[in-house]
């Protein structure tokens, strides 16, 4: 299998170079998704099936969808406004400086990393070994799958903050989106529905795929406690289902209602409640009561799945899009080359 690894590693590098070198953005994104699939394979080779699943669903899947959608929006936008004629001329000296800077950065980073890795080879295994520690404690964690134990019990604090990170992203997402809808509710909806006039085949395919995806998601979630899977992967599947549903003209999570907000925050909310409640009995924050670990972890994971799915989906749906009607052109402020100096923060 050594050759396979060699080929896979080189494949990763080549795909990455392909992404960097392609002039066309669409091509770059496609190559990037390819890179993600290769990476998922790599995780399998590294005996990390959870990561393979996550990479395929999130790294390649959701990221790819978001990127492609963005390119679509750009294309649409370019048709709306005439592309700038000559302002795109690259600033030669700046580009040159960036190249030199990149060269220096690359060489020093490469040198440092090479030196470090080379020295690692000569060194004995480290003093600490968390593998054994995890093994010794997994029985008390309430789950039998190591990664889930780490994510939702040993280092559940990381996970709490991580979901908060997702939440921040979507808060900014709706923050930037909503202004458009409040100012022009009707036109915006029109713009979105124009996006989705799918062929009949797609619609029926979506209807077929949707339940399948949801069932898979639930399975992946439930599997998490004993084998690869868990809230994040399941959440990504839910999001994927949602994206499909959007394409199939099923209108979900389009408006930012209180129910949607509840869905977005549900995961963290339940997580926090479960985490805080032991403090009432004098136990530290984030401790599970003895005997209840498995149940509570499953509860949290279930809620997290819903929230993560909704967040990822909303990040797709609520991302800014151009409004189709003509007035758009007027809404775009005239910006000159010195727009940068005009910090219009709070005039």
């Amino acid at each position: 299998m050594m050759w396979f690894d060699l080929a896979l590693g080189l494949g990763l590098i080549i795909a990455a170079i392909g992404v960097f070198r392609s002039e066309d953005l669409f091509r770059a994104v496609v190559l990037f998704v390819t890179f993600g699939i290769l990476l998922a394979l790599t995780w399998l080779r590294l005996q990390a099936p959870d990561l393979a699943l996550a990479e395929a669903a999130i790294g390649a899947g959701i990221t790819g969808v978001l990127l492609l959608d963005t390119l679509g929006v750009f294309r649409q936008h370019e048709q709306d406004i005439n592309p700038r004629s000559s302002s795109q001329l690259p600033d030669i000296s700046r580009q040159w400086a960036a190249n030199v800077l990149a060269l220096i950065a690359c060489i020093s980073a490469a040198g440092l990393l090479a030196w470090s890795l080379f020295n690692t080879l000569k060194m004995p295994a480290p003093h600490h070994n968390l593998v054994t520690v995890v093994e010794a404690n997994i029985a008390y964690s309430g789950v039998s799958h190591g990664i889930t134990a780490v994510l939702l019990n040993f280092r559940s604090y990381d996970t709490l903050l991580e979901v908060a990170v997702l939440l921040v992203a979507i808060v900014i997402g709706i923050g930037l989106r909503e202004r458009v809808t409040t100012s022009a509710n009707a036109t915006s909806d029109e713009g979105q529905s124009k996006l989705s006039e799918p062929p009949a085949l797609l619609t029926s395919l979506v209807r077929l795929l949707l339940p399948l995806l949801l069932i898979t998601a639930i399975f992946v979630l439930w599997a998490g406690s004993t084998r690869p899977g868990g809230a994040f992967q399941a959440g990504a599947l839910i999001a994927a289902a949602g994206v499909l549903a959007r394409l199939g003209q099923i209108d979900i999570a389009a408006r930012v209602t209180t129910i949607l907000r509840l869905g977005l925050t549900l995961g963290v909310f339940i997580f926090l409640i479960v985490a805080v409640s032991p403090m009432l009995t004098g136990k530290p924050f984030l401790t599970y009561p003895a005997g209840w670990e498995g149940t509570l972890i499953l509860l949290i994971e279930f809620m997290l799945t819903i929230s993560i799915g909704l967040i990822l989906l909303s990040l797709f749906i609520q991302a800014p899009r151009p409004r189709i009607p003509a007035p758009v052109r007027n809404a775009i402020p005239a910006t000159g080359p010195n727009a940068e100096t005009n910090k219009g923060g709070d005039q």
């Binding site: 604090y157 926090l272 940068e340």
Partner: protein, 479 residues
């Protein structure tokens, strides 16, 4: 007690996401008071009983994540709570004219506080990474709030710089985990050596954190982000957010693996700091826009923080202690002063309706309190007595002398004069009689909050002993 400082902001963050239209904004103030009380109580506890650890989820490090409260962290926690409360009061008034923005300001504000508290307390390398990302995202979101082209561009630039910095940091974490098999800072500090992977890891993390701290020449993202944001946002960003990555840097260099650091590397960081002072001041001097002037002033002032490394690594214990004390004081004084400055400038801009320095003509008569706050904070920034900034500079100068590094002397002393050069541009315009614009009346609470922070910067000059006494409780720092 310790996790309360995480729970309070998270709960309020969730509430403000859930109920953006309810008067959750007004509830924010009691919440902040609660947070301030909690942090003061923790400070008192630390003062009486020394540093304490808290095993989250009852899992001890290295398996679990430990929170660690020592003299330095409780100082920072209290600072955060205090500045947050004043900025919140300011924001409550200031954001009234930003109907849409304020619905998203408050959740981001609370997430920002949660991440700051998390970073001050965390004793785990990877957890710090997640905390940094949470911090970055909320900060970027706040910069982008107004959603005009300039602020979006600034936010994107900020986000990319911060992401690059985080990856540098994370790469270092990866190497350190490979090397030591644990992520706990205390555990690594016990066994750290000066081998290649450790040094490379530190180098990568350092570059990443310098990027996030906006240390010259990696500061390019800071001025548009801090200068273009809404006034309370700028205040929070300059006073607290950039300090978080500096805090991690200081922990890495002085606590995690002091053996792996060579004095030469420390000199390099010092040189960057000196460059920051010169370049930042020069740019501030040339800005036509007052908010950009203050933003560039942040670039310059952050340079002083870098002097802790050459002054405390490879020098005598006495010099190191002085450097450490001076740096902590500078951090505090700059936080107060810069927040006050951004808030007072916000009020001035609000009153005039323009943000060019030339437009400030006549403000000394018509917006005197805001200008007075600006003046008080400028005193501290210039390092003139009596102020926290002066005491900080004094300690740094003494440290430079007693470690025989006279060359830092020039920059520490000269930096104050350069600061005066750009700050007095504002004053000299403000004394001109004829106003260029009509003045709009401003709410008195805006003035009071700016004045509170400015007064704190000055008062710090008289009570410097307090934070410094707490500082002696930090293990791993020579005292």
């Amino acid at each position: 007690m310790i996790p309360l400082l995480l729970i309070i902001p998270l709960v309020f963050a969730l509430l403000s996401v859930l109920l953006p239209r309810l008067p959750i904004k007004a509830i924010a103030i009691p919440g902040l008071v609660l947070q301030l009380i909690a942090s003061i109580q923790l400070s008192v506890h630390t003062y009486k009983h020394g540093a304490s650890d808290y095993a989250l989820g009852s899992w001890e490090a290295p398996l679990g994540i430990a929170l660690h409260a020592n003299g330095f962290t409780v100082t920072l926690l209290t600072l955060t709570a205090f500045i947050a409360i004043v900025c919140a009061v300011y924001a409550l008034i200031y954001l009234k004219r930003y109907e849409h923005e304020q619905r998203y300001f408050w959740p981001l504000f609370w997430f920002l506080l949660a991440s700051l508290n998390g970073i001050w307390l965390s004793g785990d390398l990877f957890n710090l990474y997640v905390g940094l990302e949470l911090l970055t995202f909320s900060a970027v979101g706040m910069v982008a709030l107004t959603a005009n082209k300039a602020s979006l561009q600034a936010a994107i630039r900020y986000l990319f710089a911060a992401l690059l910095g985080s990856l540098g940091y994370l790469a270092g974490v990866a190497l350190l985990y490979g090397q030591y098999g644990t992520l706990s800072i205390q555990e690594i500090a016990l066994i750290s050596t000066s081998d290649a992977p450790t040094q490379v890891a530190l180098a990568l993390m350092t570059v990443g954190l310098l990027m996030k701290t906006a240390i010259f020449p990696l500061h390019y993202w800071l001025p548009p982000a801090h200068g273009g944001a809404l006034a309370p946002v700028s205040a929070l960003l300059s006073a607290l957010v950039v300090k978080a990555s500096f805090y991690i840097l200081a922990v890495l260099w002085l606590q995690l693996a002091p053996d792996a650091i060579s004095p030469a590397a420390a000199q390099v960081l010092g040189a960057l700091g000196a460059g920051a002072i010169l370049w930042g001041s020069w740019c501030a001097f040339r800005q036509p826009d007052i908010k950009m002037l203050v933003a560039y002033s942040t670039v310059a002032q952050l340079g002083y923080l870098m002097f802790v490394f050459p002054l405390s690594i490879g020098t005598s214990a006495a010099a190191a202690e002085l450097a450490w004390q001076g740096t902590v004081l500078h951090l505090l004084a700059h936080a107060f002063a810069k927040a006050a400055m951004f808030l007072s400038v916000g009020t001035l801009v609000l009153a005039i309706g323009h943000q060019g320095i030339k437009d400030l003509a006549g403000v000394s008569h018509r917006v005197p309190l805001a200008l007075f706050s600006f003046g008080l904070s400028a005193v501290s920034l210039m390092g003139l007595p009596p102020s926290g900034g002066f005491n900080a500079k004094w300690l740094l100068l003494q440290s430079a002398l007693s470690s025989g590094q006279w060359w830092w002397f020039i920059f520490i002393l000269g930096g104050g004069l350069l600061t005066a050069a750009y700050v007095f541009r504002v004053f000299s315009v403000s004394f001109i009689e004829e106003a260029r614009h009509k003045f709009a009346p401003t709410h008195w609470l805006l003035d009071v909050s700016a004045l509170t922070l400015a007064a704190a910067a000055i008062l710090l000059g008289f009570v410097s002993q307090w934070p410094l006494t707490l500082m002696e409780l930090v293990p791993g720092v020579q005292s």
